[in-house]
């Protein structure tokens, strides 16, 4: 695959309102830089993230999807992230089975206090996706940007 130096991946981050979105806000409050590629979608809980959303993002041309939630045991809704963990593990395993690059998907637990972790995670994830190059395996050609 040709490596495009100027490739700027589109990264969709689903963040739960209580921990990870607050963590993202904290990294802003602390002025911790991470790449502009990351765009956050606020969801009440990581368990709101339907696998359909992830596939949809890839189909529409996202190059990486990351889901962030409260640490296991700290879910604002008690158990939401435990369900997330099972669903997403199975989905990621299936995507892997279908030959989709593993580094395009990620799940990370980020608490409201972990602004630094949020920034570092996004930095790393963006780099990983950048290294993979554009998502060609799951996108819908009709959605491709010119």
């Amino acid at each position: 695959m040709q490596v495009n130096e100027n490739f700027e991946p589109v990264i969709v981050a689903f963040c739960c309102n209580w921990c990870s979105y607050a963590g993202a806000d904290l990294s802003g409050t602390n002025r911790l830089n991470y790449p502009t590629n990351v765009k956050i979608i606020r969801v009440p809980c990581s368990c709101r993230v339907n696998p359909m959303f992830i596939l949809r993002a890839f189909q529409k041309g996202a190059d990486g999807v990351i889901i962030c939630g409260c640490h296991p045991g700290d879910c604002h809704y008690t158990s939401g992230n435990y369900f997330t963990r099972r669903r997403i593990t199975l989905l990621y395993s299936m995507l892997d089975f279908l030959g989709i690059e593993r580094d395009r998907t990620r799940l990370e637990w980020v608490s409201a206090a972990e602004g630094a972790k949020f920034a570092a995670t996004m930095q790393q994830f963006t780099e990983d996706v950048k290294a993979l190059g554009p998502n060609r395996r799951l996108e819908d050609l009709r959605c491709r940007k010119q």
């Binding site: 949809r56 099972r86 990621y92 395993s93 299936m94 030959g99 593993r102 799940l107 996108e139 819908d140």
Partner: protein, 323 residues
């Protein structure tokens, strides 16, 4: 066995224990068999059939049948009983309205495998001591029975009836099957090879929806692919939707609920091995969350509506994967 089944069905219809019978009837050709509902002794005598081609899983039809008045007699093969149980668990079938007679299972035959031998103009098929005698318009031909067995029967997981009101014939055991062999083989390929394999297979999809329509786990009142509100509705084959969305979402929707009855691959006119997607989920669930067989009972929690505090993280996909 067919005679015993017809006899018993007539008895139950006659004494009013059941109002309808669900089984199979012959179509235009001997191998062209379809599930059917019978309401009288005459219909049973005329059309009811149970032979080497009655592979269809009738449990899904009971969703609609039990919404009607009266009681239904259903003949269920061992694999069908799992689907039946799963539907009972999901409140899709009213157990009270069904009288289940467990019958012996396969192996059933795959007409495509017979045709693949170059045999055409088929009129009828007989199994004589595990050699198939195939009557054709060009005369009688033979082939070994096991070479014509359906894929789903070749990797049969269980000969045990998990639910029945009575049995005709013997009950069997859960088998030590080799059903994950192909999944493992794929897992051991490189990502590019897997991608190529699936692109090759899934791009054949013509979106006939047969897999969905036959699947006993796909009994939604309104399928997400037909529902404009779902945001992923799509009725006709379009670009990469089948490869990238349809089959993944369908497999995910039945994950933890699929009993591995194998109907999806049996009915696929394009011969896409769709059951491998379901088996991948089953294998992952067994390995990551403990052995689970959907439909084995009606009370246990499905793996995706359950959790353990020390479940593995999705990063396990990185850790255990090849390449």
């Amino acid at each position: 066995m067919q005679e015993a089944m017809i006899k018993r069905a007539k008895e139950l219809l006659a004494d009013g224990s059941v109002d309808r019978v669900i089984g199979w009837k012959r179509g235009e050709f001997a191998y062209d068999i379809t599930p059917a509902v019978f309401t009288s002794a005459e219909e049973l005598d005329r059309d009811f059939v149970c032979d080497d081609f009655t592979a269809a899983n009738v449990s899904k039809y009971l969703v609609k049948e039990t919404q009607k008045e009266g009681k239904v007699l259903a003949f269920l093969k061992p694999c069908d009983t799992y689907s039946f149980n799963q539907l009972v668990k999901e409140h899709r079938i009213d157990r009270e309205k069904v009288y289940v007679i467990g019958i012996e299972g396969g192996p059933k035959l795959d007409i495509e495998k017979i045709r693949a031998k170059g045999i055409t103009g088929i009129l009828g098929v007989r199994n004589e001591d595990y050699t198939l005698k195939i009557e054709t318009i060009y005369g009688t031909q033979t082939m070994p029975f096991y070479e014509a067995v359906l894929g789903k029967c070749a990797s049969c997981k269980s000969k045990k009836h998990v639910v029945f009101d009575e049995l005709i014939g013997e009950d069997g055991d859960v088998l030590d099957s080799n059903r994950f062999e192909m999944v493992e083989k794929l897992e051991n390929m490189t990502a590019q090879e897997r991608f190529d394999f699936w692109r090759d297979q899934l791009s054949k999809c013509i979106r006939c929806n047969a897999c969905r329509n036959v699947c006993p786990a796909c009994t939604c009142e309104n399928c997400v692919f037909d529902n404009p509100k779902s945001g992923i509705d799509n009725k006709a084959p379009a670009d990469s939707f089948e490869e990238n969305m349809f089959h993944i979402i369908r497999a995910f929707h039945v994950a933890g609920r699929c009993t591995d009855c194998g109907e999806c691959s049996r009915v696929c006119p394009q011969h896409i091995p769709l059951h491998l997607l379901n088996r991948k989920f089953i294998k992952d669930i067994n390995e990551l969350y403990g052995e689970y067989q959907a439909g084995a009972d009606t009370t246990s929690r499905a793996p995706l509506t359950d959790y353990n505090k020390d479940d593995c993280e999705p990063s396990i996909v990185h850790e255990r994967g090849v390449e």
